[in-house]
Amino acid sequence: MADLFWASMTELAGLIATKAVSPVEVVRVHLDRIAAHDEGLRSYVTICADGAMATAREAEAALMAGRPLGPLHGVPYGLKDLYDTAGIATTGGSKIFADRVPSTDATVTRRLADAGAILLGKLNMVEFAYGPEGLNPHYGHARNPWDAATHRLTGGSSSGSGAAVAAGLAPGALGSDTGGSIRIPASLCGITGLKPTYGRVSRAGVLPLAWSMDHVGPMTRTVADAAVMLTAMAGYDPADASSSVLPVPDYRGALTGDVKGLRIGLLRGFFLDGATSKVRDAVEAAARTLASAGAVVDEVSLAQVTNASAASLAIVGSEALAYHAETLRARAADYDPEVARRLRVAAFVGGAHYVRAQQVRALIRQDVDAALARRDVLLAPTTPIVAPALDERQVTLGDGPSAVRAALIRFTQPFNLSGHPACSVPCGFTAGGLPVGMQFVGRPFDEATVLRAADAFQRLTDFHARRPVLA
């Protein structure tokens, strides 16, 4: 197969299982692609070339011996560098943790290995996942692959995951999402990103930003791949106190391609009216596409989401500072100055404000639950803007000016507060060739319907199949 690095994880698993290609060949193709392009993209912090090739040879031997194969047997992937990996540095994107080598794997790392996936390397990220732009002064700013001429933001904090998957340097990756850190880079880099329900996937062995807001999930080029990864990752884990005991369905099996009768609430007000016109136009066109395929689309607004940024500031700031306080006292100069500043500001949030924010959070959740009581999914832009240039600080949204940082997290953080599952997919491109993202939001633990809707959209369109031309 030509351009094997553009094959989806599902396609690669099929090619490997039928012995059409060897896992060794698949891994080598991706390592070659990384060697050719990552100096410019800065998507990887650590490349596990020797380990990946050794594992690929073992996978090939297992295949030839006829041993049972996992659903991702021989398929490579990348990990945001906050997932613990035994014997491999896990930096959290920080020089403070540059030499931190865990002795055990994160639960999801282990589960993906059990499914047969092969780790290509650890991916760049915003230091300690505290920021949505995707910048990292220690390991270099990841670059959005969709603009070879201008350095544009990948979005973050899972910046390397977004860039690597979009550029064919990994067919899939894991990110983490505390205020949008999976969905924002998915939107800006034109890929699929799934934030599952809080509690659906174990956070054990994943460096925290804010325990009550952190979600882990897949970033892929297709929804079908996200479904396969989620099935392998999800499920109860006694090592994570917030992990759900609900059984894990076969998410791939839920992808029927059928949206007839599916009730979709298009989020107006804060969401669509707050987006730039090119983003709003793309999402409205996507809603019409889904309606033409039989979905029942109406419009709905969420009144409480305007309070999300205040609640998020109090909760994420307080929890992040609690985790970092000791290190901040001892090694403040070693932090990214921007991250240190955010942590310092959090020292001025009081306990009563934290609790008030948790009350507001309950109101936001009730609001989203109410909107979903008569609908199967909600639909909204993922980000109000497309990828800004590196030096862009201010943007004009549909309802006024905004700092880039605030704009990036505006539509995603409400669902970190509420805990609902949300999946971002590309839904258009600007005239300049930059991707536009939209997110489907579903009921708690109903990732199956979210993925079904998102996959159906990908069967109706080709936005997810477009590829950037790299510099």
Binding site: V245, N307, S309
Partner: protein, 65 residues
């Protein structure tokens, strides 16, 4: 009741005091550097105080079962 915040502006003494209460001994330069962000945060926290939350209980966990 939450502690009332009567102003969004904050002077260096108050910043020093707040940092000390939180267990940090930051320099005046470090405090001056974050003053605009602290003032912006206070504006958001003030907005948080104004939200009518009734008797809703704070979220601590998503219902996981």
């Amino acid at each position: 009741m939450l502690p009332a915040m009567t102003s969004h502006s904050i002077d260096l003494d108050t910043l020093r005091h707040g940092a000390r209460l939180a267990g940090f001994s930051w320099s005046d330069a470090e405090l001056e550097e974050i003053r605009p962000q602290v003032e912006a945060a206070l504006r958001l926290l003030r907005a948080l105080e104004a939200i009518p939350v009734g008797d809703v209980e704070p979220t601590t966990h998503y219902r996981t079962v």
